[in-house]
Subunit: 203 residues, 2 copies
């Protein structure tokens, strides 16, 4: 079994990912992941759309599992097998915002436990780390900013929507005046972020 | 100017990276970076091998600067311009060792200041984080293990050489019995690492 990172948007497939997909006999993945690789799926390949995977689920040895972004970053790498890295939303955000990755802590705010994620984010920001939040659509920027109260006026909130897609949108605000996402596909970078040249902060 | 991540080994170029290189009129990069993209350099393109770049150095607007791994991870992203992410050694190490990226802190141990890097590594490991060290050839595993004394018997030291290349080698040991790198191109993952299935720890 191979778990193949397909990147967080179009044009991010690596040569290794294209090769794995082109040789595949059976492919599993989300609708979005399948769309990102559609041009490389060979004739006769079985393609199955799946939203969730369980580690106990039987998966054929010759299967290729697609994982948006990088399989090791909130992706399907936990299924095991051979893992082919892909470009994550974190990397695209860091590239756009000109933030060095070694200065970034990562918090996953998926599922019901947003309270615990908010505590971790506040801890990381208060110890001076930029913090990248992989959010689900229900993650509240308002609750984030409540958790960050007192963290400092120099802290920016960058809401990154549809990273890597033609509709990509990055808005930068403050804890007092944060941007709000419209797309369900968003992530957030919190910390000391300078606006890239040519951009204007929204506050 | 574009700064293009070319991955840490062969076969990791993304479609966006291939496109930028195929359209380039002038390319700057290290010998290793140029070798990784050689098949895509167009006829007539000027190619200049460069080892170091200064932010004050005049770089033509139409230049493509190659950065091994990801430009935002100890790469050339600090030069600014449009940045195209690439697959980093961190991502390959995380894929091979089956470590989730959100559990990893990053420490850059380049240059003379290994003492400060060692302090940071010890701090991160002691607060329970897996820690990925981007090392220069002079980084001492022996000094690392001295700095980590008392961090716990369950801490593994994974020395990763030539990640992504045919000669790739990953050895896992303990603080008491660490592996030693032979290649000058290596990185280290420290923390609670389980050996991937089929592998044997070297201790």
């Amino acid at each position: 079994m191979k778990v193949v990172g397909v990147g967080c948007g179009p044009g991010m497939l690596t040569e290794q990912a294209v090769s794995a997909i082109s040789d595949a006999a059976i492919i599993f993945g989300s609708k979005r992941a399948i769309a990102l690789v559609a041009a490389h799926i060979p004739a006769g390949c079985i393609v199955r759309e799946m939203v969730t995977f369980s580690p106990n689920q039987p998966i054929p040895d010759n299967a290729v599992i697609l994982s948006t972004g990088d399989p090791q970053l909130a992706g399907l790498g936990y299924l095991g097998g051979e893992i082919i890295p892909g470009i994550s939303s974190l990397q695209v955000a860091a590239a756009r915002l000109h933030v060095p990755l070694e200065q970034v802590s990562i918090v996953i705010a998926h599922g019901k436990d947003h309270g615990r994620a908010l505590d971790r984010i506040a801890d990381e920001v208060k110890r001076g780390q930029n913090t990248f939040i992989i959010a689900d659509p229900k993650f509240s920027i308002t609750a984030l900013c409540t958790a960050l109260e007192g963290a400092g006026e120099d802290i920016s909130i960058a809401v990154c929507e549809d990273l890597g897609y033609p509709d990509e949108k990055i808005q930068i605000g403050s804890i007092a005046r944060p941007p709000q996402p419209v797309s369900p596909l968003f992530s957030v970078m919190v910390g000391r972020i300078e606006s890239p040249p040519g951009d204007q902060k929204s506050h």
